[in-house]
Symmetry: C2
């Protein structure tokens, strides 16, 4: 099976599993407000996405010779973890759109508009609770799988470690807006915690543990690939189209996101360049014209090339490491994982 087939097939399996989880969840819940909230979490979770984390967990499991389909359910729980993080992220970033549709806090603020003094507060409150519920559902789904109890216990501890460090990454991200000295080193730590650990290493490690394998072998592949993926994602965030990134093209600038592109352009640009960037960064009413100016500076200063070259170097290092390893599950899955790394870097999810 090639990588695209593997992804397509498993994306469908994961989404079926999520639908089934929500179907059973709703069966036991009569109260209309509760059902409505559960349906919102379901709809949000099933809006799309490549299910990359779930697929990596399945690959980690197969690479260590893991058989059977219980891994699909364990892997699907990562998509609920993802909903939990994204729902709370949307609140923190004050995002209005997620995958082209209303974020949950915006949706619920709309429901309360005209009924109470502070509909935005209501919207955020429901969304905080919805994120919390998605978190609890994720652990429930993961823990209801039928693996040997000792492995499942070990994997759950790893899942909690991943969630913990993703929280730390999120924290550094939130602080980045008030830190004057937020530079390349701080940013790469953030990418390691929030992306490499959470999106690439963690899922592979969980699959390995559930198959009885050693998760550590994935580290020198997953961390560089994960950081490269985030660098690439930030490039897409600044240079992509609204259709491609699912939110306004000015979002990253408006949020004040200190990406490596921005950090290096500030470092390598002249005083006028710096001023243009600083005027746009964190400015909620930043214009398309300002965006164009920032894009030009990121290109002309060589900052775009810097990020691209760093990403390419990291990808090569990660792939070389993976190629040097042998897995009990065989070369087929290793090749899928190698192709998947290329795919992620080129397309970004």
């Amino acid at each position: 099976m090639d990588m695209m087939e593997f992804m397509k097939e498993h994306k469908a399996l994961v989404e079926d599993t999520l639908r089934e989880f929500f179907r059973r969840k709703k069966e036991g819940l009569d109260h209309p407000l509760i059902r409505d909230a559960v349906e919102s979490i379901e709809e949000y979770t099933l809006r799309g996405g490549k299910r990359i984390r779930a697929i990596l967990m399945i690959l980690g499991y197969r690479l260590f010779g893991g058989a059977g389909n219980e891994i699909i359910k364990a892997a699907s729980s990562l998509e609920l973890v993802q909903s939990y993080f994204l729902i709370h992220d949307d609140i923190m970033d004050e995002s209005e759109l997620r995958r082209g549709e209303e974020t949950l806090h915006v949706k619920y603020a709309g429901i309360a508009r005209g009924k109470i003094r502070d509909p935005d507060r209501f919207g955020e409150n429901v969304a905080i609770i919805a994120g919390d519920l998605a978190n609890t559902y994720a652990i429930e789904m993961f823990n209801s799988t039928d693996f040997p109890l000792d492995r499942k216990n070990e994997a759950l501890m790893e899942l909690l470690r991943i969630m913990e460090f993703t929280g730390y990454g999120q924290l550094i991200d939130v602080y980045s807006s008030i830190l004057d000295d937020f530079g390349e080193q701080e940013l790469l730590l953030l990418h390691e915690y929030k992306t490499a650990n959470y999106t690439i290493y963690g899922p592979l490690a969980l699959g390995a543990i559930l198959a009885g394998g050693n998760p550590d072998v994935f580290r020198d592949f997953a961390i560089p690939i994960g950081i490269a993926f985030q660098l690439q994602d930030d490039i897409l965030g600044l240079f992509g189209t609204e259709e491609r990134i699912g939110k306004p093209v000015t979002s990253d600038l408006a949020e004040g996101k200190k990406t490596l592109l921005i950090i290096k352009a500030l470092e390598m640009g002249n005083e006028k360049d710096r001023q243009i960037i600083l005027d746009a960064l964190g400015n909620p009413s930043v214009t398309r014209e300002q965006l164009e100016q920032v894009r030009n500076i990121v290109v002309s200063t060589g900052s775009l090339d810097y990020s691209r070259n760093l990403a390419a170097k990291l990808v090569q290092r990660g792939k070389e490491h993976l190629t040097s390893l042998n897995f009990p599950g065989g070369e087929e899955y290793r090749n899928i994982l190698l192709d998947l790394a290329d795919y992620m870097i080129k397309r970004t999810m």
Copy 2:
């Protein structure tokens, strides 16, 4: 051992266990911002409280003959669950004080003041993450206990069920402000989910499961006692002193909390009474004078008596049920639990 001794001794053990957890947690974390966040969660968790949930879990375990001290650690994790809910609650209610000190979102807004456009957003963001981390720590602590894996797995599923239904209770609570037809029935469901299930039944059930016992026997004791406890807590919220409740005496009114006291006073009062209550309810700048007027109406309409009588009836029903049961762990612990029920209703935590 009598109830007060049991509580005092176990409160100290639980707090030592929490301190040890945070000591080890911080050992592995170098980053100053992350350490600071962990210290804030620790400080918040150790601000005080009777540790009633932890103590009930220990009692549930002892009642079913559970021996040894590993239960202390499992029980202490409920205090982290409590921090998770309270930190998020504080955001949702826009509370400034918790146990007489700054809530976390207020504390972090203060740190960002003057540094960014929207310090309140920053404060809320850090607090959302802090609550999320407390959630993850709670499951980690619970799952790192050394119980037989099958019992621990079953107990973890019950813990997740408790957290899920507490979330549903929270949801109904948040909705109560926009629902016109929020009445006694809705309120008692809210109390069942958010208080009886979470504060009384859940902890006892977890202790029972970890000792290999049947958690269901606690239901007809815990649910009525839990609802009574909440009714009593609402009385304290309206009639208590600032010192006693740890936040401004007008808080419940300002938040627009539709307690049974309020619902019944609206039902039983005349048009003028209703208007006075509706002017005060959900009014962020409600005065002490308005509070006094509302208190007088709650007394004169008989609403206070209604809540008190219902609470007393529920307590009696719960205690009678418990007295009819026999436990392998012996009568000593049952008597402590009976005394604890009285204590909770009289003092409120």
